[in-house]
């Protein structure tokens, strides 16, 4: 049995002459938190809208929760928080949730509503009108709407953009709970540290194309260099290390760019053999932010 929550092939979306997305191919399994990253205008929200059935792909096909894109049956088990979240201001939080619960044909509606409100920290304000809510509280309400009825796939488009740090922490904990419960989460976010902390896999999209996808470790790569604290005794450090990569000599040692972790023993051996005193070796790894900027800049140029 296919256990993919999302399985799409070569989705392309054009708006007139503008190509918003090209050849998006993704497979996301149940119980996985998938991060979707990209700069503004990269095609992230377009992708999300095609997954939840708000927009139709120009070409390409795929399944969501085992049903073709846009199929209403998939929406029985789908939760969605849009980037531009707005809810009728003249309804209370409880009424908004009740409306969605009815539309989703849920059973035990009042229990579901109470659980969702409790989960996002809005239980005390459940009978207040949305008009009295701050932006952050409206985003919490949107999250409650998305979490109603134990969905199998939760698609969150910038779910923490209006939240304070403690709110973001709470959302990360909710995402981890969802993963433990076997729910698939598609997380579209600008907040790279957030993605780095919770996502199992990520895709980076820029200018409508996916430029990288994989686990966080795969995206970061094995490391892009080794920092060595050492002092030379005769032969200069740059001459000893030249064969391992591009060397930048510093006051207390040198950095060898392009050297992977498995090259470290050989480097240390070469230094010792040349009589250098080695005080420390540290592998340099890129942050997700650095890799993101590198990849999006490459495509941009």
């Amino acid at each position: 049995m296919d256990c993919a929550s999302v399985d799409v092939h070569r989705l392309t979306k054009r708006y007139g002459r503008i190509e918003a997305l090209r050849d998006l191919t993704l497979r996301i399994d149940k119980g996985e938190i998938f991060g979707f990253l990209g700069p503004n205008g990269a095609g992230k929200t377009t992708s999300v809208k095609m997954l939840v059935g708000l927009a139709r792909p120009t070409t390409g096909s795929g399944n969501v929760l085992g049903f073709p894109l846009g199929d209403r049956r998939a929406r029985l088990h789908l939760g969605y928080l849009p980037e531009l979240f707005r809810y009728p201001e003249w309804l209370t939080a409880r009424e908004v949730l009740r409306y969605h619960a009815h539309l989703a044909r849920m059973h035990g509606i009042e229990g579901e509503i109470a659980r969702a409100l409790e989960r996002v920290g809005l239980a005390a304000r459940s009978n207040d009108r949305v008009a009295t809510f701050s932006k952050g509280m409206q985003q919490r309400l949107g999250l409650a709407v998305a979490l109603l009825g134990k969905p199998e796939l939760v698609v969150l488009d910038e779910p923490t953009s209006a939240l304070d740090p403690s709110g973001r922490l709470e959302v990360r904990e909710i995402l981890r709970e969802l993963r433990r419960a076997g729910t698939c989460v598609f997380l579209n976010s600008h907040l790279l540290t957030e993605v780095e902390q919770v996502c199992d896999r990520v895709a980076i999209v820029t200018r409508g194309r996916v430029v990288a996808h994989g686990t966080i470790a795969q995206i970061l790569g094995e490391g892009h260099g080794v920092r060595i604290r050492a002092s030379a005794n005769g032969t200069p450090l740059d001459r000893i290390l030249a064969r391992f990569g591009r060397v930048e000599v510093q006051a207390d040692g040198a950095t060898v760019q392009g050297l992977a972790q498995d090259g470290i023993p050989a480097v240390v051996a070469a230094l010792v053999e040349a009589g250098a005193a080695v005080y420390g070796v540290e592998q340099l790894t890129a942050t997700l932010e650095e890799r993101f900027l590198e990849m999006t800049a490459e495509r941009g140029s």
Binding site: V52, R72, R73, R75, P82, W90, L103, A104, V145
Partner: protein
């Protein structure tokens, strides 16, 4: 569909639409009621009180004038209710999470359209009933077929509602409203051209007017309402006169086929609107 209809109804209630409409309509009925009451008590230039017959004939003309204004009010109200109801929800993003629920877009559209149609019809009938009761109490005048007249005024409002809904599936609320009201006025002018064409036996003007009524039958429904408000004596007098009747009088109702066309027009345009809503990207 029922959930969406109930929510639309609740929106009108929470946004104080019903309260506002009731207050404005009560004021309108009070003012016109006072006018008719006063009309029945005025004196002629010779100092003699107006006769009951004179009151009835003046009331007949004034009822037509008030109905004409009410027709315009109802059409504009229908447009300004319908267009924002859909377009604002699309623009603001309120509809986005709703559209990802397991409910068809046609059902969402139909729920809104049905709720709006019920509100427009209720408003028309309640206002019409109150107005005619007040006029009768003040002057003793009752138009020949008040219920039918209000029915046709309601159909005219529903024509405008369907048009505004269709436009609002692809246009901003304000643009859809302005275009709808503009087309309503063009249809009114078309109808006037038709009546002039008939009077002066000019085929071009007649056909242009007929075409405008076919394209937007709001004014044809007004003509039907008008005919139901005119006393037989008024119709006979206008028929015997060789003067142009103008936009406030008609000597014959629109042909029967026009009623069928208007009803079909509302259904077809609403169906087009539902399809347009269902096929668009968000």
């Amino acid at each position: 569909m029922i959930n969406v209809a109930l929510l639309t109804w609740r929106e009108m209630s929470r946004r104080n639409f019903f309260l506002g409409a009731a207050a404005a309509t009560a004021a309108l009925i009070a003012v016109t009621g006072w006018g008719f009451w006063y009309l029945a008590r005025i004196h002629t230039a010779r100092g003699t009180p107006v006769t009951h017959l004179e009151v009835l004939s003046m009331s007949a003309v004034l009822v037509i004038l008030i109905s004409y204004l009410f027709n315009f009010l109802l059409a504009v109200a229908a447009v300004f209710l319908a267009a924002p109801s859909l377009a604002n929800d699309i623009e603001s993003g309120v509809l986005l999470p709703v559209l990802t629920r397991p409910i068809s877009r046609v059902a969402i559209f139909s729920g809104k359209a049905i709720a709006l149609a019920v509100i427009i019809a209720l408003y028309a009938f309640l206002t019409g009933a109150c107005e005619f009761v007040v006029i009768r109490a003040a002057t003793g005048y009752v138009p020949p077929h008040p219920a039918q007249a209000v029915g046709f005024l309601t159909l005219s409002g529903l024509v405008m509602m369907a048009l505004a809904l269709l436009l609002s599936t692809r246009m901003a609320a304000l643009a859809a409203s302005i275009v709808s009201v503009g087309l309503f006025i063009i249809a009114r002018l078309g109808s006037t051209a038709q009546s002039l064409g008939i009077h002066f036996d000019n085929a071009t003007a007649t056909h242009a007017g007929t075409l405008s009524q076919l394209l937007l039958p709001s004014d044809a429904m007004w003509q039907a309402a008008l005919f139901n408000l005119e006393p037989e004596s008024m119709v006979a007098a206008m028929s015997n006169s060789h003067a142009w009747a103008g936009p406030f009088f008609t000597t014959a109702p629109p042909p029967l086929a026009m009623f069928a066309w208007s009803a079909a027009w509302i259904v077809v345009i609403a169906a087009f609107a539902a399809r347009s809503f269902a096929l668009r990207d968000f």
